[in-house]
C-alpha cells in the first residue's frame, strides 16, 4: 500500500468532523481531550513532539521510524524493495535471498533512498493569503504559488533542510513544514521477498495475513551512524486485544470531502481509465518477467507497484460503484448546500461554489487525457525520458527568478531534484525499451494516430522502433553525462543532439501550455471554490476536525481489534503457526528455506500480524505502531479490503490497519536470521 501518486487529483482538502477512532491528525492540532475521554490517556505536547521526531518519511513515498539511538530506521520491505533490487546483480539476488549486514561495516548505501524528519511546523496562512488579495482566480493561484516558493526559499537555508508549504483544510490553513534531510541511508536488513510478501497479490489487502513486511536501514552522517535523540523504544510485551495503539506516518491522499462533481468525474472517467491502464501494463509485466531470471528480477518492483495500485483502485471502484454509495455522499452535500442556501448571507458568499467546481471539473475532463499523456509524461514514461525532461526544464527554469519557476524547480526543491538526477541507480536498457514502447503505444492510442503531436513524435517509426532507437542512442544512462548537461545549463542542452533530450525538447512547449491552461482553468477555480466550501462548512459545522491527507506526518489512534465479516468473526492476530499452515510450496504461498529450516527453533504461538482500528491509507506503509509509552508494538504495512473505501470515509466497524507484530520481528531476527546484533540494538537484550 505504498503511496499512489494521483497525478491530477486536484488539492481538494477540507476539514471533517471525526467519529470514534477516525482521523489522521496533524501534530499541532491533536485532539488530546478526545483521546483522554475515551482511553484515560492524554498525550501532551512533549509526547507528541517526541513521537513526531521519532517518526520519519521516506521521500519516495513511505513512512518509517527511528528505532535506536544510532539512527536505525524501521520500515516495510516493500518500501525499500527498489533499493534491494538496485543493490542486486544478475549473480546476487537480494530480493529472492534477503539481505543482512552481519557487521555495521557491511551496511550498503541505497542509491536513491532519502529520509525526512519533520523538525518544525509554522503557520504561514496569513502571508500566503495576503499575496493573493484582490486578484482574480488564475492570478490569485499564481500569486499564492509565487509566495509559497518565496517562503520555502527563505526557509531552506541549507541542502540538509527541506521546506514544504502544506495546504491543509482545503486552503483554510497553509503550514510551513521543515524537514531534516538524510541522504546517506544504508541497507541493514531485508528478509526474502517470499516471507516479506508471503501470499503475494492474492493476499494483498487481506486479513488474516502472514507477512514479515519489514526492513531496517540506517541513517549515516559524515560516514558514521547518525546519533538521534528521539527514537522509539521497543515494547517488551507487545499488545493485547483491545489495547490502545497509535501510528505516526504519512497518509498520502484522501477525498473525504470532495464535491460530488469531482467524485463522479473521478469514478466515471479517471478511475475507469486507470484500472484499464494498470491492468494492461500488469499483463505486459507478467509476461516480460518470463523472458528470463534477470528480467524478472529488474521488473519485480514495478510489477509489485502496479498490482498494489490496481488492487487499491479496484477496492475504491468496488466502493464507488456499490449501489447507494455515491448517493449517500450526494445527500450529505445536498444537505450542506441547503443549509447554505437557507441563510441569505452564506448563500451570497458560498452558494455558487459547488457549481463552479462542477464547471471546472467538466473542463478538466476535456483537458485531462492530453495533459496526462504530455505533461503527466504517461506517453513517454521511462527513467531516461524523465531525466531528459528534468534536464531540459532545469535549464529553462533556473534562468528565471525563484518565484516565477514551476514549483518543482524552486530553490527549496533543488537538493531533491539533484539527488534524483545524479542517482547512481542502475538502468536496464531492455526494460527501458519495454516501458517506453508501452508508453508510446498508449500515446498513439489515446491521442490517435492522426494527432499532429503523435505524428511529430513517431514520424514513420513504430512505438517499438522509436523506443529502441532512443534508448540505445541516448547517453543519459550515465550519471556523469547527466551531471555535465545539468551543470552546462541552457547552452549545453541547446547544443546536445542526444535523441532522448531532443524528444523532451520537441514536446516541451505544448506540454507547458497545456499545464498552464489546466492551472488557470481548472486548478485555480477548484482551489478558490473549495476554499469557499471549506469556509461554509466551518461556518455551519464548526472546526473540531482534521484535514484531508497530504502525504505529511499525521498521528492516529485506535485499538487492537478484529471485525465481523458477515457470519464470521475475524480475530485480530495471526501467528507463526498459522503462517506455516498457509505454506503450500508453490509461489506465492512458498515460505523461504530459512523459515522451513528454522521451524523447530520457533515458538509457533508468536503473533505474526495484527489488525487495529487506526485510520490509515496508502503512504502510511512503514508507519510504526506504538503504545502510550511510545514503545514499538508493530509496523503498519497494509489495510484490509474494507479500508480501500477509506478514501471517502472511515467505517469503524470494518476499516482496519494491518501490521507486523513487533514480537514477530524480533523472534524472526533472532531465530530465523541470527541477526543478534540487531535484536540487541532494538531491545537492549
Amino acid at each position: 500500500m505504498k503511496l499512489r501518486h494521483l497525478l491530477f487529483a486536484a488539492p481538494l482538502l477540507a476539514s471533517m468532523p471525526a467519529k470514534a477512532e477516525e482521523g489522521m491528525w496533524t501534530f499541532n492540532r491533536f485532539p488530546t481531550d478526545k483521546v483522554k475521554q475515551a482511553y484515560g490517556f492524554a498525550p501532551d505536547q512533549k509526547w507528541l513532539d517526541h513521537v513526531r521526531l521519532s517518526s520519519v518519511r521516506l521521500a519516495q513515498g513511505c513512512s518509517a521510524s527511528f528505532v535506536s539511538k544510532d539512527g536505525l530506521v524501521m520500515t516495510n520491505h516493500h518500501c525499500v524493495h527498489e533499493c534491494v533490487e538496485e543493490l542486486s546483480t544478475p549473480s546476487k539476488d537480494y530480493i529472492a535471498d534477503g539481505f543482512f549486514a552481519k557487521a555495521q561495516a557491511d551496511e550498503v548505501k541505497c542509491p536513491d533512498l532519502e529520509v525526512n524528519q519533520l523538525i518544525d511546523i509554522k503557520d504561514v496562512t496569513a502571508r500566503v493569503m495576503k499575496a493573493a488579495e484582490g486578484l482574480t482566480d488564475a492570478a490569485a493561484n499564481d500569486a499564492k504559488k509565487a509566495e509559497m516558493s518565496r517562503i520555502e526559499k527563505e526557509c531552506a537555508t541549507s541542502d540538509s533542510l527541506r521546506c514544504d508549504i502544506v495546504t491543509l483544510y482545503n486552503g483554510g490553513v497553509y503550514d510551513l513544514y521543515t524537514y531534516k534531510r538524510h541522504q546517506d541511508v544504508r541497507l541493514v536488513f531485508a528478509p526474502e521477498l517470499a516471507i516479506a510478501f508471503f501470499g503475494g497479490d492474492p493476499d494483498n489487502f487481506m486479513f488474516p495475513r502472514h507477512d514479515l513486511d519489514s526492513a531496517f536501514v540506517r541513517v549515516y552522517e559524515n560516514g558514521k551512524p547518525a546519533k538521534v535523540k528521539d527514537f522509539f523504544k521497543w515494547s517488551k510485551s507487545g499488545t493485547k486485544e483491545g489495547e490502545l495503539t497509535f501510528t505516526a506516518g504519512n497518509p498520502g491522499s484522501t477525498s473525504r470531502l470532495k464535491t460530488i462533481a469531482e467524485i463522479l468525474a473521478f469514478r466515471d472517467f479517471g478511475l475507469v481509465k486507470r484500472l484499464m491502464y494498470l491492468s494492461e501494463i500488469r499483463g505486459e509485466l507478467v509476461q516480460y518477467a518470463k523472458r528470463g531470471a534477470e528480467q524478472e528480477r529488474h521488473s519485480k518492483a514495478m510489477l509489485f507497484g502496479v498490482e498494489n495500485g490496481l488492487k487499491a483502485f479496484k477496492g475504491e471502484a468496488d466502493a464507488l460503484f456499490a449501489p447507494g454509495f455515491v448517493d449517500a455522499i450526494k445527500q450529505k452535500e445536498d444537505a450542506l448546500r441547503a443549509k447554505v442556501m437557507a441563510d441569505k448571507e452564506l448563500a451570497a458568499k458560498y452558494g455558487g461554489a459547488w457549481d463552479a467546481v462542477a464547471g471546472a471539473v467538466q473542463r478538466s475532463r476535456a483537458l485531462s487525457v492530453r495533459l496526462g499523456q504530455l505533461e503527466g509524461g504517461q506517453g513517454f514514461r521511462n527513467e531516461l525520458f524523465s531525466f531528459a525532461r528534468m534536464l531540459v526544464r532545469a535549464a529553462d527554469e533556473f534562468q528565471k527568478p525563484n518565484e516565477k519557476r514551476l514549483r518543482e524547480f524552486t530553490e527549496g526543491r533543488k537538493p531533491g531534484l539533484e539527488a534524483q538526477l545524479m542517482s547512481p541507480a542502475p538502468l536496464y536498457p531492455e526494460f527501458e525499451i519495454f516501458r517506453m514502447t508501452f508508453a508510446l503505444t498508449k500515446l498513439r492510442e489515446y491521442l490517435g494516430p492522426d494527432d499532429p503531436t503523435v505524428k511529430l513524435v513517431l514520424g514513420s517509426e513504430s512505438p517499438e522502433q522509436l523506443a529502441t532507437r532512443l534508448v540505445n542512442g541516448t547517453k543519459l544512462g550515465d550519471p556523469a553525462v547527466r551531471k555535465a548537461l545539468y551543470e552546462g545549463g541552457a547552452a549545453a542542452i541547446a547544443a546536445s543532439d542526444d535523441p532522448m533530450l531532443k524528444l523532451a525538447k520537441l514536446i516541451d512547449a505544448e506540454s507547458r501550455t497545456l499545464r498552464k491552461q489546466y492551472e488557470d482553468e481548472v486548478e485555480a477555480v477548484v482551489r478558490k471554490n473549495n476554499e469557499l466550501i471549506a469556509a461554509a462548512r466551518f461556518a455551519i459545522e464548526g472546526t473540531s476536525s482534521y484535514p484531508d491527507a497530504t502525504f505529511t506526518p499525521r498521528v492516529s489512534y485506535g485499538t487492537v481489534k478484529g471485525w465481523q465479516e458477515g457470519e464470521k468473526a475475524i480475530k485480530p492476530y495471526t501467528t507463526f503457526g498459522t503462517t506455516f499452515e498457509r505454506h503450500t510450496g508453490a509461489e506465492p504461498f512458498a515460505l523461504p528455506l530459512s523459515w522451513l529450516d528454522a521451524k523447530p527453533e520457533l515458538d509457533l504461538s508468536t503473533p505474526m500480524n495484527l489488525c487495529t482500528t487506526n485510520d490509515i491509507i496508502g503512504g502510511n506503509s512503514g508507519s510504526p505502531v506504538f503504545n502510550r509509552n511510545a514503545e514499538i508494538v508493530g509496523l503498519i504495512f497494509d489495510g484490509n479490503i474494507h479500508s480501500l473505501g477509506g478514501d471517502y470515509g472511515f467505517d469503524p466497524e470494518l476499516n482496519r490497519a494491518v501490521a507486523v507484530d513487533s514480537r514477530a520481528i524480533v523472534h524472526a531476527l533472532d531465530k530465523v536470521y541470527g541477526a543478534t546484533r540487531l535484536v540487541k540494538e532494538l531491545t537492549g537484550r
Copy 2:
C-alpha cells in the same frame, strides 16, 4: 467488429419505434412502406426472399453472402482469420503472406468454418406460451425451454439442418428459424493481414479508413462447389454519395430497451470488470507474441479479438459514462412507467415489472462473478478444457430425454456440437498453457485463495504448475481420442483418468448448481417481467417496430453519407490514393510488398472504403452492402467510433457503418493479386 459473446447478457429484448434509417429488421416484418415513402423503392417479398437466401451467417460469429452460382462466399478477412491461421504452419504463414488458390483444386478446407443459410421462418409463439400457462416464473422458464427443445428436435430432421427458436420482442414473439448448414467450406482468397487490417488497432472503429478486410471462401457439396440458386450479382458501377444501400447480416446484440437497472448493473459492474479483464489479457498477449515468430502467429487471432472487443467496450463505456447519457434513458423509462401507473388496468398488470427486474439484477450481481468463473468457464478457459467439459456434459446429458437437457445438448444442436468436438484444427500446447495459467490466476483472484473450490482445483500447485501439468498430461488434443470418449459415453468418461477430464468432472456439480440458481432466480424473473414491460410498451406505443438484435438475419437500409465531426466534414469515401498516403513503412501502417509493387498499375482514384447510415452492430461483420437491384456495392467490416454507443440507440447524425468498396475488391483482385479467375466469377468479365 466480430460478434462479441456477451456471456451473461440476459435476453432482454423488446420492440422499439424506429426513426430515420434506424432499425435491424427481420425478413418477415420489414417496413416496406417506410422505405417506399423515403426512397421511392418498395422491396417486395420476392426481393426480400432473394436477399435472405443470398445472405448467410458464419456459425462462429460473422455474416457473409453468396456472390456466385458456384457457392462462392464473400466475408471479411477478420471473419476467416482463424481458418487462415489454422492452415498456416511455422514454415508457411498465410496471415502474413495472404492466400490465393490459383485454381479451384487449390482451395483448402477450413477446419472449423460453418456457413448457415436461413431457409425458413415460422412463428411458434402460441405453442411456446401454451407450455408455460399457469406456471410460476422458474417453472415457466423451464417449461418454455423444454418446449423449445421439442420444437427444434421435430424440425431438425437431418444433420444438414439447424433449427433455432429465436426470442424476439422481449419474449413477445418466438420464431423458429431453419438454416441449411454447409460444413465443407474452403478457403479461396485472403489478402495479407497488413492490408486487410491496415492501420491495425489504432485505426480500428475509425473512419476515414483504408482496409481490404475481405476474403472469399467456397461452399462445397459432395466434394464439388455447391450450386446455389440465390446469390448477389456484382454491381458494375458501385455507389455514389447519397445512394440508397441495404445490408443483410446478423447483428449480435443490442440493448436499446433494457431497463435502467440492467444498464447500470452492466455499466458499473460487468463492463468495468470486462474492461480490466480484456486490458490485462491484451497486455499478456502482446508480450507472449514477443517470444518468437511462431508464438506471434498462433496468438494473433486471439489478440485481434481481444483488442477489437476492448475497443468496442471502451466505446460503450464512453457512451454510458458520458454525463447525461444514462439520465436520458432513465427519463424515457420514467415516462413510460408514469403512463402505466396512470392507467389502473395497466398499473395492475405491469406496474411491478421494473422493480422485479431490478431485484433480479441485484441478485445477479451477487451470483455473477462465481458463475462466470465456473459455469462461464472463465476460470479455466482454453481449448482443451472446453473439450473436456463438452465431453463430460455430453455423457451426462445424452442419457436424459431431449427436453430435459441443457439447451446446448439438445438433439437440434448435436451436429454443431459434434463438429466442434471433432475439429481437426491444430492446438498449440505452449499457448494452451499460457491461456490456462491466466485463467486460473484470475479464478484465484476473483474467488480468493481461501475459496474451497479454488483450493480443491489448485491444491498445492500454482496456476502455472497446474496448467502445465494438465496441458502436457491430457490426451484431448487428439481428435481421435475425443471421438472415442464421446462415443464411449458415460462409461468411458467415468473410466478415464485424463487429468483435464478430471478437472472438468471435479467442478461440474457446483457449476451446474450455480447455473440452475441463476436461471431460476435471475433469468426466469427477468424474462417474465421483461415480457410484461414489452406488453406495456405495445399497449402504449403500438407495434410498428423492430426487435433487439439476436445474432439472427436482419436487413437494414441507409445511404452513402459522411458526417460532421465538430468543425470537420468527414467525406464518405477513401481511395487507393489516400491509402498509399497513409503508408509509413512501420507496422501497422506498412502496406504489403504486393501493393507497393503493384502501385504503378493501380488507378489511385478507385474508392477503397466507404461509410453509410445503415444501422449495424458487432456480428454484422462480413455483411454484403447492396443496392436496390440486389447487386453488391460493398462489404461491411466495421462501424465508426460513434456507432459503439449503438447498443443503446441509433443516432442518424453520427452512427456510420464502414465497408470495403466493391470497386476496391475487384481492382485489387485484378491488379494486385492477379486473381483473374475470381474477378471473372464475380463480374462475368
